[in-house]
């Protein structure tokens, strides 16, 4: 056989091999891992009520395949189907740490759906390994990617992301700021309460609520700055959110601070005080609430005070 013939034969052989590989990828044999993942995934993500019994076992089987299923599952990350998105998140959450590197590789994808779903999965896996890569996505030009990133960083809860989420509070898109405010409450450590207090006047209620709740989750360390904020703020709605941020579970110090506003002239403030006192679940709030109920003339504030009292029981 001449060299020329040999080279031609080799080229042909390689071409055939590539062809077979490509055909297998497009039409994998029935027992291939791809076909198995596909079949299980159809069942796991089926929304029809008739097939609900197949969902959980199929999901468990996919999770049990672990890293072997990951390549095929990655190819499904660009789905536009809401049920498939939910299911993929559940499966990757189940597979866990071993899928993290593969998911990080998808963050560079130009497909917004795939990129955002990968971020969501990383957040659900809660791996510290993903924080550095996710932080890089916090400034992504697509605001939906930034929203997913803030949520994922919050779910992971690593203090390494505290600067990134606090920067997110000032994002021009309110959904990013909302997700960032919520993330602050999950990370807690190294979060500046004043950064959260500054967004209590935000134009969007989601940001205000998330910031107030995060302050309450951070704990007693926020009471002093919140108290100072209350003394200086004139905005009734912002004041109410600041009061809600004093709903620190089990904190007598919170109850004492809240009691200062129990007789406010504003029925909204009194309503917020009643709400917050209930959420502290501290027994010492009982006499304050009883006094509020006795004197209260606004139906909502009275109803909230009664509901708060019931929470203490």
């Amino acid at each position: 056989m001449s060299n020329k013939t040999f080279i031609s034969a080799m080229v042909l052989l390689i071409a055939v091999a590539y062809g077979v590989a490509a055909a297998e990828e497009a039409f994998p044999p029935p027992d291939s891992i791809g076909r198995i993942v596909d079949s299980l995934f159809i069942r796991a993500s089926s929304g029809e009520i008739r097939f609900q019994a197949e969902v959980e076992p199929s999901r468990k089987a996919l999770i049990a395949l672990g890293i072997k299923a990951v390549p095929r599952l990655l190819s499904k990350l660009d789905t536009r189907d809401a049920r498939e998105m939910l299911e993929i998140t559940e499966i990757f959450k189940g597979i866990g740490e071993s899928a993290v590197e593969s998911l990080i590789s998808v963050l560079r994808s130009d497909d917004g759906f795939a990129r955002r779903l990968a971020i969501r999965c990383l957040g659900e896996i809660k791996s510290d390994k993903a924080v550095w890569s996710l932080q890089a996505m916090a400034q992504h030009r697509d605001f939906r990617t930034r929203v997913e990133t803030m949520t994922a960083l919050g779910n992971i809860g690593s203090p390494a992301a505290s600067a990134a989420v606090q920067t997110g509070l000032n994002d021009s898109i309110e959904l990013v700021a909302t997700a960032a405010a919520a993330a602050c409450g999950k990370i807690k450590k190294d979060i500046d309460p004043n950064a959260l207090l500054a967004v209590l006047t935000h134009r969007y209620y989601g940001v205000r609520y998330a910031a107030a709740r995060s302050l309450a989750l951070i704990g007693e360390s926020v009471i002093a700055p919140v108290s100072a904020y209350l003394d200086s703020s004139d905005d009734i709605n912002a004041k109410c959110f600041a009061i809600l941020s004093l709903a620190v579970k089990g904190s007598e110090k919170s109850v004492r601070t809240l009691s200062r506003f129990a007789e406010s002239e504003s029925w909204q403030v009194r309503t917020a005080v009643a709400d917050a006192l209930g959420m502290t679940k501290v027994r010492k709030a009982e006499p304050i609430l009883k006094k509020m109920i006795a004197k209260e003339n606004h139906p909502l504030a009275a109803a909230k005070a009664k509901a708060a009292l019931a929470l203490l029981d």
Partner: protein, 614 residues
């Protein structure tokens, strides 16, 4: 004047004094609504601005109706729109969608350039010098329409593309009763097939002037004047029945005897008698024009899988008699890449259809208007005021005790084994996440009406769309099961407005003012002693960052719910923040059972929900 504009018709429809009075009353209702809402929101430490939603939670697809974006950003304007709809000529609203509002970006309308037609209908109507006045006048604008359509085809040089678009839209709107017997793999395969067609449609629609048919419809409407639709009968034809064939189909001039019109009907003018019509048109790009001036008539449209009227315009106007309209799909006031107008001026009429019927529009518009009588409307799916992609569908009934029924044929196999899809009765629908939806309006101006549906209906929408049911007066019954009576699901808008009367609202869940997944939905009842019954996630409920309002401004009302935890002013938490749910009753002695509400008090047991009874 032989030809006059549509605006003249509108002026005739609306007596000026009545408009002023209605607007005053409307403003009064809206002022009270705004005031009550601001009060309730203060209890959640919010302002009305907090109800605003975004138009870009996902990348915009280019098929978005401007009116949808507008009301998402200013949702309270939607309530104003719904409350004044019943006092306005709804055709005006259709005009607003297609002419005054910016068109969806991917649908590129442009000024239409008239081309000389190769042949005209008028040539075929010049018969022996007889004065077929009405026919001539009809022929005049049909000629225009024909020119428009010819122009469209010539300009695009791609009628095959349009055929593909029509087929694709058919695939998306068609349901199959056999689906409930298919395997999970078969259903998955069907879903993939539909998804592939959706993607194809996005490409196809982005590359053609798909807006042209709708613009052509408007041109067409401009030429419909008093001379045809809003005037008395034409001079009585004293000749014999006449029939001839044109390249466009059969032209029939009837008499006062009862006739049987059948086949490839293009134009029919009938002066009286109890007539039977069997319209058998095949292929696409067809138009049918029927003017029937009297008698109890029966209209039958042969069932077609693909609309023969797509890319065309059709008018059926029946001036008197108790009539029966029976069609399968794509007819009875349906516009698919075109326009369809059905106008019944009087009589107790019955309408029967399957899918995309009774005021349904996609890339165009469909109007079904009935001016009087006690009517029955019965359809399966996508009907009775249904708007699909870049389209508007309007069912407008001016008077009479009417019964609207939608559903009962195609099972909602996703959610239930024993409930049926309706997606009708003021319903807007888009394809998630590829194509924003349209605008569906059901407007009833008077009478004691019954609205029956099952899943998705009665002032509701899905995916970047708008659905409104507006009933001005009468003691009405609204019966449905889920996603209804002022409901929006997935970044969309729904509103049910009832002006007066002692009404009954009944259903299971996600209704009576329920916004789900970044949607806004409202039920506003302005007056009357009303009864509201629901199981769960209803009566002013927000879910997954959606906002839902139930507002009753007057009367001694009763509210019954089964689940107190998520009804009557309830908002749940999703994505780390809340959904807003508000229930307001502004007057009367009211009764409550099963829920959180009580007469003359406020309540708020959920962080983002509030109830107020004054």
């Amino acid at each position: 004047m032989l030809i006059c504009g549509m605006k003249k018709i509108i002026l005739i429809w609306i007596a000026a004094a009545a408009v002023v009075q209605a607007e005053d009353a409307g403003k009064n209702v809206l002022a009270r609504f705004d005031e009550a809402l601001a009060d309730a929101l203060a209890g959640l430490y919010m302002t009305p601005a907090d109800l605003s939603l975004r138009d870009d939670y996902l990348e915009k697809d280019g098929f978005r109706m401007a009116i949808v974006d507008r009301y998402l950003k200013s949702p309270l304007e939607l309530v104003g729109f719904a409350s004044t709809l019943a006092d306005s000529a709804v055709e005006n609203t259709v005009f607003r969608f297609f002419r005054e509002s910016p068109y969806p970006a991917a649908v590129k309308p442009r000024p239409f350039v008239m081309a000389p037609p190769e042949s005209t209908v008028a040539e075929y109507c010049d018969i022996g010098g007889l004065d077929f006045g009405t026919l001539y006048r009809l022929a005049y604008f049909i000629q225009k329409e024909t020119r428009l359509r010819q122009n469209l085809t010539v300009v695009e040089e791609r009628s095959a593309t349009f055929d593909s678009i029509i087929f694709g839209l058919t695939v998306l709107l068609e349901e199959d009763v056999m689906d409930e017997f298919r395997s999970v793999d078969e259903l998955d395969s069907i879903q993939r097939y539909e998804e592939s067609w959706t993607k194809k449609l996005v490409d196809l629609l982005g590359n053609v002037d798909a807006g042209v048919p709708a613009v052509a419809c408007l041109e067409f409407l401009d030429f419909i004047g008093d001379s045809i639709l809003n005037s008395g009968p034409p001079p009585v034809f004293d000749g014999e029945y006449l029939e001839f064939t044109t390249p466009y189909g059969k032209v029939c001039i009837g008499d006062t005897a009862s006739q049987y019109y059948y086949g490839d009907l293009f134009i029919v003018i009938d002066y009286g008698g109890d007539d039977t019509y069997l319209v058998q048109r095949e292929g696409g790009h067809k138009s049918t024009y029927i003017l029937d001036y009297g008698g109890d008539d029966s209209y039958n449209f042969e069932r077609s899988r693909i609309s023969p009227f797509a890319l065309g315009m059709s008018i059926v106007a029946d001036f008197a008699g108790d009539d029966i309209y029976s069609g399968g799909s794509w007819c009875i006031g349906a516009g698919l890449l075109g326009g369809g107008i059905w106008w019944d001026k009087s009589g107790d009429d019955r309408y029967f259809g399957d899918t995309f019927t009774m005021g349904a529009g996609c890339l165009g518009f469909g109007i079904l208007r009935d001016d009087g009588g006690n009517d029955i409307y019965q359809a399966a799916l996508f009907s009775q005021g249904f708007g699909f992609v870049a389209g508007a569908g309007v069912l407008y009934d001016r008077d009479g005790n009417d019964r609207y029924s939608a559903g009962g044929k195609y099972k909602d196999i996703l959610r239930y084994s024993d409930h049926y899809l309706s997606l009708s009765q003021g319903f807007g629908y888009g394809i998630r996440p590829y194509l924003s939806g349209g605008v569906g309006l059901l407007v009833d101006n008077g009478g004691n009406d019954v609205y029956e549906s099952d899943i998705f209906a009665q002032g509701c929408s899905y995916w970047w769309s708008l659905g409104v049911l507006s009933d001005k007066s009468g003691h009405d019954k609204y019966l449905s099961y889920q996603y209804a009576q002022g409901c929006g699901t997935h970044m969309t808008l729904g509103c049910l407005y009832d002006g007066s009367g002692n009404d009954l609202y009944f259903g299971k869940g996600l209704m009576q003012g329920c916004g789900h997944d970044r949607s806004f939905a409202a039920l506003l009842d302005a007056a009357g002693d009303d009864n509201y019954i629901a199981y769960d996630l209803s009566q002013g409920a927000g879910s997954a960052n959606g906002n839902g309002l139930l507002v009753d401004l007057q009367g001694n009302d009763a509210y019954v719910v089964k689940d107190a935890k998520n009804t009557q002013g309830y908002g749940n938490e999703r994505r780390d923040y809340g959904s807003i749910g508000i229930m307001i009753d502004m007057g009367g002695r009211d009764s409550y059972a099963g829920g959180q509400g009580a007469d003359s008090t406020w309540w708020s047991k959920a962080a983002w929900g509030i109830g107020m009874d004054k």
